[in-house]
Symmetry: C2
Subunit: 304 residues, 2 copies
Amino acid sequence: MGFSEAEVIAVLQEVFATPDPRIIVGIGDDAAVVTGSSQQVISTDMAVEGVHFKREWSSAFDIGRRITAANIADVLAMGARCDYLVAAVSLTGSEELSWIENLARGMKAEADKANAVIVGGDIARAPSITIAMTAIGSTSHPILRSGAQIGDGIFLSSLPGWSAAGLHLLTHELATTSEMSKKAISEFRAPTLDYEIDFSSATSLSDISDSLIVQVTQMAAASGSSFALDTELISRAPEFSELNSLAQEVNIDVWNWILGGGEDHVFLATGANLPGLRIGKIIEGSGISGLEMKKAPVSWSHFT
Amino acid sequence: MGFSEAEVIAVLQEVFATPDPRIIVGIGDDAAVVTGSSQQVISTDMAVEGVHFKREWSSAFDIGRRITAANIADVLAMGARCDYLVAAVSLTGSEELSWIENLARGMKAEADKANAVIVGGDIARAPSITIAMTAIGSTSHPILRSGAQIGDGIFLSSLPGWSAAGLHLLTHELATTSEMSKKAISEFRAPTLDYEIDFSSATSLSDISDSLIVQVTQMAAASGSSFALDTELISRAPEFSELNSLAQEVNIDVWNWILGGGEDHVFLATGANLPGLRIGKIIEGSGISGLEMKKAPVSWSHFT
């Protein structure tokens, strides 16, 4: 590297410096000390260059935002708030110091949106860039995947598929200057988490990290009921026609993106009178109901 | 991989299954939910294949123990107990399922020693194996690096250098069947943390992860005083003559290992009447005093 580990740490300490009163001992000792809570929520998530992101496709800032958003989403998906984050990052040595700084700034920008603080980290040398983060939150009332009740509605915080669309445009070199194309690529580079939606009265809750199909299947199994999806309801979502136009332009079945895309980290909830998009209801049985087979997509997978 | 992600997760869920009453929601939902505490300690640490470990040199079990010990040590070094751990692991796809299971068993074995629970994780595909762990602990009285007072004694939980010795023997193919050689290599593969030593009344505390020299320099700077080391006292440590014999056998200055080796994660404390090895005292000034220049080693670094 053209700079020392001490220089990197100095930059990171500056980026992550905070007067937040929850922090008792910040970055610089063996570990951080923070104000705790009686029920803590803990999740960890890893992103690998070439698998989850590419430096040619995304800025360091967006890569930082993306992995941070993915971690925060797991905590929010428990009905919790995210309080603290730590990041462990391996670097190849070919990065500019400014790239590392922007990665950190992206992490901080997303953490700020959640009112979470990055309290520590580790850097290591490796043949490729790997970013592992851990998010720590709190809740007095965790909402599990298993709580769906017969008769509950099924709700999404927004229409999924934009990130999958962006990935498709990038892998097939189909990006244009249209607003829809720009939105899809932006959502792939770093998803816009819905921090405002109130799913606190949901009976079950998860974020969609693999795909809507995978997530619904898991929640149906966890709750011992069937998730009856209504594609007619989904197609009435405000963004459906935009996403559908984009899909038609590039000759893709839009349901492939909606049902098979996941890395938007849209929240999936069950319950009565929830906000967001109502897309179906819980019925007796198991698995997924209501999907015409032609709409069952090949499950979306990482791009290598 | 010759097995699916679901198979790996099933194995890990079995290895990490626990009836621990502190766990409210265990592995399998978006995040774990655990019983918290008013002051939490958080630290993260990453180990990279080829940099921090090699599969030719260490079993999966030892690799798991080593990274877990390194994480736990950072929490203990705050005067805290370690409660929870999460692990994010990237795999190349060439590993056997049994290798992954043994990695997890090594993590659990070390966590068990600390009475800590592994509550979550993530696995990803990557060109090389990277393991990032986060340790979460609790304390009502954190002990910082900055608290050393003039007149305090300087103490070690045990003699450092065994891990550096083991690394030397492995890199130079000098391993023998002697007890000393076996001990050095064993400590390199996974250090024996001292979970019993009571440094709770220390004025400052850290674990030695880089080297004694580096750690003492950092603590001297943090406390605004000088750490006067007494090599005569260090050479009276019970294990000194063993380590010195091993060093002489392979034609190395033993001080290189003791002062320049770090990954034993020996604890370094200051205070009065502490247990362990007394190796010097805090005096007015700055930096390190008392070392003859011939004993100042080249700082130990990772093996690539």
